[in-house]
Amino acid sequence: MAMKFGVVQFPGSNCDFDTFHVLSEVMKRPTVMLWHKDHDLQGVDCVVLPGGFSYGDYLRSGAIARFSPLMQEVKAFARRGGRVLGICNGFQILLELGLLPGAMLRNKDLKFLCQHVYVRIENDRTDFTRAGTKGQVLRIPIAHFDGNYYAPPRVLRELERREQVVFRYCDAGGEVTEAANVNGSLNAIAGIRNEAGNVLGLMPHPERASERILGSEDGRTVFESLILGLERARPARRPAATRRKARHD
């Protein structure tokens, strides 16, 4: 059975429909919109937090969105092992929410960066990259002001040791260079997963690179990986999902 995606909409989200389009029309999976004020995840298998400027990025990017009612459900869903993908502003929200470690600083050159970049898959044994291979270079656009990833030294060491760094900025040949690390992120980090492996945040926009007409289909790797993992694992997961539902009723 096909897995079901949910795309969360906050006031100020602006990649919600792009993401919905790719998941429903390109990946051809049942997809629903989830409103930030609701409490119901509608039985989705994967929650996607799309890019944009939730709550106008007031205070800090993602800082207000984390308090919305639906995000409390998303937090509980993630703690139960549910797949959560945060793209750009969605990544920032996951950091503020504490589902992923670290924080975002302003880009090193204090510029809003809107351009195609190359990222290298650092770990292909994740729910978000299993359709790709380690070392593979993806061409995906970024569009952000606060994408300069920061974590205290101890946290950074743990991230590396546990292979939680999933994507790193690199050049076209897959080389991690200072020039390729356009926003100044520590260790050129473009995307990380949590320790359990079910939550991923990344600054590049895979939904903007999932159709040939847009110049790149490399972003599909992320969505294909999720589908591959969840549709294979589905029969085993069914009883747990039924129990959860019964408890809520």
């Binding site: 205070l59 503020e96 600083l105 302003r106 880009n107 090193k108 920061y150």
Partner: protein
């Protein structure tokens, strides 16, 4: 009671905006300026809150919402009221 909360980057975190302001000041000839840290100021009006309560409440609000403790620190003071 009115309190003022000052949020700024921790010393261990690079503040590119502060650096840019510092460079501008140097360009203008203010050679005495050796460092600039940029931050945010919040003023909160609290009702029916004693000083003792504020001492618990304000740091809690600052930690949970106003500052991101991973990258930012805060200081606060009472501007008026008990």
């Amino acid at each position: 009671m009115r309190v003022r909360i000052l949020v700024s980057f921790k010393d261990s975190v690079l503040d590119p905006q502060g650096q840019t302001v510092k460079n501008a000041l140097h360009t203008m000839g203010y050679a005495a300026v050796t460092d600039v840290r940029q931050g945010k100021v919040f003023e909160l009006d609290l009702e029916g809150t004693t000083r003792k309560e504020a001492e618990a409440l304000v740091p809690e609000i600052a930690r949970r919402v106003l500052a991101n403790p991973i990258i930012e620190k805060f200081a606060w003071e009472i501007l008026k009221g008990q």
